[in-house]
């Protein structure tokens, strides 16, 4: 096979795979065995970044972009008139190993359009991973897509070679899915997730008894939802996400702002702006759930079904709960500090450590790195100075928004000056 042909395939099949957001290479701690090639570091490494600012950690490819399905939101849907291509198993293996040896990548992310049947497709994905692990003695990171409907035996094998398995929900609501992907069922996505979750639990408990039990998908599983394609509100998206985390022990849920790729009347028209800001607010909410001890009902509920776009979700929660503030940074416990706008987890830990040596004042907080432009309205410290004005939530929001330099600021003020 000629170099030019490989290059063309790489062009088509990397382009088709780029809508998968996940590029994480973290969470697995695979060692290099028998002087083989590679290992996986638990923190992951981003080897470069694309011009859109996304991390490139894995060689992200589709095995093929032939597909028997016709999901409206997907660029490889069968009714779409695009160039099609397919890699041979050995071609993917060669690309991965040679890129890896040059320190371009952490490993492989392999997905695929569905050709012939689920099993036929899954078998080929597994064959690539198997060849890499057994023939090339490759210990780098491998992320495989679980193909909905593949047999249990294949799924089990996949988890033994891969570090992470994922299946994309894509559309957060059942009704949305029905409208955009009539061939697919909600349960098609749920079943493989359930399966992987159970296998992980089973292998983990066996490993406690028999140490030589192999690891099953050590970096867990993840999924992705498209934002802004089928008209759901933030509450629907985040409640689905919250459920997925709880029910299937997912490591990550990714949110992907919909990029218009179709003239289909069911979808936003081509040229519509990608909702990057909304996506950003969803990720912030996701972080508040996983690391800051928030309950989803505090952030999104029937009276506030959508996130504010002009301020971050923690600040909008704080403005709704002004009665809880101010808190004393020298006394408050960790979880309360984590709820103060302008305090990230890094600052919180620094404060907890530093305040054991002396009571902290404004100067200390500033040098530690606390964002005082937001935080100062919500805290007191070892100083006679503190915010004494009694702001209402709306006033305070105004003061903070006007004193901060959000990169999105122009987006809002720009709109106002138009009228």
């Amino acid at each position: 096979m000629s170099f030019e042909r490989i290059r063309e395939k790489l062009n088509i099949l990397a382009d088709a795979a780029k809508y998968d957001v996940s590029c994480a290479s973290s969470g697995s701690n695979r060692k290099n065995t028998n002087k083989g090639l590679g290992n996986a570091t638990s923190m992951g490494i981003c080897h470069t970044y694309t011009q859109d600012g996304r991390c490139v950690s894995l060689l992200k490819l589709l095995l093929t972009n032939y597909c028997i399905f016709d999901c409206a939101y997907c660029v490889t849907r069968k009714s779409n008139d695009i160039k099609r291509a397919a890699f041979k198993v050995q071609e993917v293996v060669d690309l991965t190993v040679n890129f890896y040896r040059r320190n371009y990548i952490e490993g492989l992310f392999l997905s695929s359009g569905i050709f012939k049947s689920a099993d036929y497709t899954m078998e080929r994905l597994v064959a690539v991973a198997k060849k890499l692990r057994l023939e090339e003695n490759f210990n780098g990171y491998i992320h495989l897509k679980s193909i909905p409907g593949a047999s249990d035996a294949l799924m089990r094998e996949a988890g033994l070679y891969a570090d992470r398995l994922s299946v994309n929900i894509e559309i957060p609501t059942k009704s949305g899915l029905k409208a955009l992907a009539p061939d697919k069922n909600h349960s098609d996505f749920i079943k493989p997730m359930e399966k992987v979750k159970n296998e992980i639990i089973q292998y983990k408990s066996e490993k406690k008894i028999i140490k030589s039990t192999p690891k099953y998908a050590p970096a867990g599983q993840s999924t992705q939802m498209i934002v802004g394609a089928s008209g759901e509100n933030d509450m629907q998206i985040m409640y689905t996400s919250n459920q997925l985390y709880k029910k299937f022990n997912l490591k990550r849920v990714y949110y992907s702002g919909y990029i218009p790729i179709s003239y289909d009347k069911r979808l936003p028209v081509i040229g519509t702006e990608v909702p990057v800001l909304r996506e950003n607010r969803l990720y912030q909410t996701d972080w508040l759930l996983r690391f800051y001890g928030f309950d989803i009902r505090e952030l999104l509920n029937k009276s506030t079904p959508n996130l504010d776009l002009d301020i971050d979700p923690k600040l909008s929660w704080a403005l709704r709960n002004l009665q809880l503030f101010p808190v004393d940074v020298n006394k408050a416990d960790k979880m309360l500090l984590a709820r103060v706008p302008g305090l990230g987890m890094l600052s919180v830990n620094k404060i907890l450590n530093a305040r054991r040596f002396r009571a902290l004042n404004w100067d200390h907080l500033k040098t530690i790195g606390v964002k005082l432009n937001r935080a100062r309205y919500f805290i007191t410290c070892n100083s006679k100075d503190f915010e004494t004005k009694d702001y209402t939530a709306a006033q305070l929001k105004n003061v903070i928004v006007n004193s901060s330099n959000s990169k999105y600021k122009t987006a809002f003020t720009g709109q106002l000056t138009l009228f």
Partner: protein
């Protein structure tokens, strides 16, 4: 009273010997600086401290007692920053440690401790960047070769990572700024220096396969980008321009 100036050979052990001398001779507020950096513009007479491994080890052990391995690591990484005047910040923190007789590295409200912790963090970030941005090219001798010029002297820190990862291929990572490199020969990783012959054209050094994979990598880099979301400010924040010259996907 004149301020004492201590110069040392630029090695970490040399620096620790200086610390030892400060304690032994009750030198109160010295300036510690590597002798190659020393310029006579400073007032006072420089005193060259001869590196003694035993003295260095005593200081190192003493630090371990209060700061533990993690704390020692922070001190070492700060030293590798090679920043002008960093020795004196480190001296202050070490003095503070021995007088407090406990781990004070989390006292972020102390200016010297905070500077040290921030510097260690910067060095860490550079280490991580080097683990990411090294781009090997396969030479005709079958060695995977990479040039780097990191902001800080991080080669000693990335040695383990690359040795563990690329156990079945020979490789060299060469620091052009500091004129030394790491060479892994399939058994162990050693420090080397190379005299480059700048007249040899690139084509003669590397395999033809090398050029092909570089092209494939560029192809991949281009097609994995989403045009509709281009955000160059973010791109440059993650991949600062000073690293571009060694990144094959960013060559012009």
């Amino acid at each position: 009273m004149q301020q004492t100036i201590l110069t040392y050979d630029g090695t970490f052990n040399g620096f620790l010997t200086c610390i030892f001398s400060c304690f032994e001779q009750h030198i109160k507020h010295p300036i510690i600086t590597p002798n190659q950096n020393f310029e006579n513009e400073l007032f006072g007479t420089p005193e060259l401290v001869i590196t003694e491994k035993k003295k260095a080890e005593r200081v190192w052990k003493g630090l371990n007692q209060y700061l533990g391995t993690a704390g020692q690591n922070m001190i070492y990484r700060t030293f590798l920053s090679e920043l002008h005047g960093i020795e004196n910040i480190m001296l202050n923190v070490i003095n503070y440690t021995f007088s407090a007789k406990k781990n004070i590295l989390t006292d972020y409200s102390d200016n010297d401790v905070l500077t040290l912790s921030k510097t260690a963090q910067k060095v860490n970030r550079e280490k991580h960047r080097m683990e990411a941005f090294v781009r090997f090219q396969l030479t005709k001798d079958g060695i995977y070769f990479a040039n780097v010029s990191p902001d800080f002297n991080v080669l000693p820190l990335i040695k383990t990572h690359f040795t563990n990862r690329y156990a079945d291929q020979k490789w060299i990572i060469y620091d052009l700024k500091r004129h030394y490199g790491l060479f892994y020969d399939l058994n162990s990783t050693e420090t080397i220096t190379i005299n480059f012959d700048s007249n040899t054209p690139k084509k003669e050094l590397f395999t033809t396969e090398e050029a092909a994979y570089e092209t494939l990598w560029k192809t991949y880099f281009k097609s994995t980008n989403i045009e509709e979301r281009v955000n160059m400010a973010l791109h440059i924040k993650h991949v600062p321009k000073r690293y571009w010259k060694y990144l094959s996907e960013k060559y012009l």
